[in-house]
């Protein structure tokens, strides 16, 4: 990253059955998407503990994406519904404590939606480029 051009860093927690497979499909389909994302695979979006999201946000990640199956299609039935409530709660906390809740994304991307995955990363990268780097990148006293 040079001074003139900021490259956002996105940490993505993707569910094994849907979004991770969808990302894999984007790859096998040779779809181009920005290389700004670092993927962490979990078995379910419901397994994403908000503490992971907070740690990434406070460590300086510019954006955090949580990817899961569409509501109703969760491999474990209900995990994504719980993930949805957790994200709503987490964003409310960030909003109320002086952090930018818009750096947290939740998106339902199924195993067959390789294009949607690529487009999501494009969208988030563009949005974060506009928003600028996460101020926590330089906050060493938090």
């Amino acid at each position: 990253m040079n001074e003139n051009h900021f490259e956002p860093k996105i940490i993505a927690f993707l569910c094994n059955w849907c979004t991770y497979t969808g990302a894999d499909l984007a790859g096998t389909s040779r779809l181009q998407y920005p290389p700004n994302v670092r993927i962490i695979r979990l078995m379910c979006s419901g397994a994403v503990d908000p503490i992971y999201v907070l740690k990434a946000d406070l460590a300086g990640a510019d954006g955090i994406l949580i990817g899961g199956c569409h509501p109703g299609d969760c491999h474990y039935q209900e995990g994504n519904y719980k993930a949805r409530r957790r994200v709503v709660a987490l964003k409310e906390i960030l909003k109320n404590t002086g952090f930018d809740e818009n750096r947290i994304w939740l998106r339902w991307i199924s195993a067959s939606e390789g294009t949607r995955f690529a487009e999501t990363i494009q969208e988030i990268t563009a949005e974060l480029t506009k928003m600028g780097p996460n101020p926590t990148r330089s906050q060493w006293a938090i």
Partner: protein
């Protein structure tokens, strides 16, 4: 039924002690949990089986050294257990309801006695005031009720900050409600379940309405609460946000220890998850150039907000326990309120109302994730 406890010799405490005695003597409970004057003169929540020792009971003392919800949890979480009569303030009762939802307490085999609460002093202030008074009795509290009745807009400035903005000073789910707000010329009005009233040989009698006093006090406290919320929210939204407000945190974990909702035997922050490998610190330091220690202070507060914010009943134990005098209680209450409004949830309102984060509806927040 509603009835009146006769007060003799201008001793409302004696009247309440008699009622508590009757609960033991009539075998309605096995033991009572009630604040008592210990031999050294302090006030501490105590388990009592001997009615004679209730002469030392002083639930009117305006001090709350711990939130007794946790104690009731210990008494009720598993069988076998005794039938407990617990004298609790409203915030303790509401915290107990939340703990029950978290499977850390049970309301079965529990007889809840709620006394109208005009507020409390913190422990050092209480001790100082009593020392000044020289006589250790409930005069301190009567003065508070007088003020609450006559000048609700002028609380004593040393009243705990959490109490000054408490808009729920009574808990209506109790089996026995001891109603100290309002005029008590004839005695102390109580509301009691018919079953218990009959067993104690009490009869229905018209009692004075405390609703006007209560309404006025709640209105004033709500206004004050909203003003405090606005002040703290301005701080939270200003340049440094929560980072600046809690910058002096020394990570003693007192707030978490005294919080009635924080029940985890091992907090995640004291678990292996945060027992970092020494080499990790090198990476974190190089990443930002510097790395404040101990690490993850804001992560601690944001995570605690996430874990217990929805159940925060605003008892303020956290503020009193903080050695760095951080405004923990007001921050957690204010953020808690936003969370609670988002989920239309009120902690302590109804034990059958599920905790928002362990339930869901298929057709809510449907725009999220699309």
């Amino acid at each position: 039924m509603k009835t009146i406890l006769p007060v003799e010799n201008q001793d409302p405490l004696g009247a309440i002690q008699n009622l508590l005695k009757k609960l033991l003597e009539n075998d309605l409970v096995d033991i009572l949990l009630v604040p008592m004057r210990t031999p050294s003169g302090t006030v501490a929540p105590t388990l009592v089986s001997d009615p004679q020792l209730l002469q030392f009971a002083d639930p009117l003392a305006p001090v709350m050294p711990v939130n007794s919800a946790t104690l009731v949890g210990k008494l009720s979480v598993r069988q076998p257990r005794a039938r407990v009569g617990a004298v609790l303030r409203a915030c303790e009762a509401r915290a107990l309801v939340e703990l029950t939802k978290m499977q850390q307490a049970s309301l079965d085999d529990l007889l809840l006695i709620n006394i109208d609460c005009a507020g409390t002093y913190n422990v050092p202030t209480f001790i100082a005031k009593e020392t000044a008074l020289k006589e250790k009795n409930s005069v301190l509290l009567l003065e508070l009720y007088q003020l609450a009745n006559d000048q609700p807009e002028n609380p004593p400035p040393e009243l705990r900050s959490a109490c000054q903005i408490c808009e729920q000073p009574i808990y209506e789910g109790a089996a026995i409600q001891i109603e100290l707000f309002g005029n008590q010329a004839a005695g102390i009005p109580i509301t009691i379940t018919d079953e218990i009233g009959e067993k104690l040989g009490l009869v229905d009698s018209p009692n004075s309405e405390r609703s006007t006093t209560l309404e006025k006090l709640v209105a004033i406290r709500t206004e004050r609460r909203d003003a405090e919320f606005e002040k703290i929210r301005t701080h939270l939204q200003s340049a440094g946000g929560i980072t600046d407000l809690f910058a002096a945190c020394i990570r003693c974990y007192n707030c978490m220890t005294v919080c009635p909702i924080c029940y985890c035997k091992t907090c995640v922050f004291k678990s292996e998850l945060f027992d970092h490998d020494p080499i990790q610190y090198l990476g974190w330091t190089k990443q930002k150039g510097a790395f404040r220690m101990p690490s993850d202070t804001m992560l601690f507060h944001l995570t605690r907000l996430n874990h217990m914010g929805l159940s925060c009943v605003g008892c303020g134990m956290c503020t009193e326990a903080c050695p760095a005098e951080l405004p923990v209680g007001i921050v957690f209450r204010a953020v808690g309120q936003s969370l609670q409004q988002t989920f239309e949830y009120q902690p302590g309102r109804d034990v059958s109302e599920p905790l928002p984060l362990i339930t869901f509806k298929a057709d809510e927040w449907t725009e999220v994730g699309e």
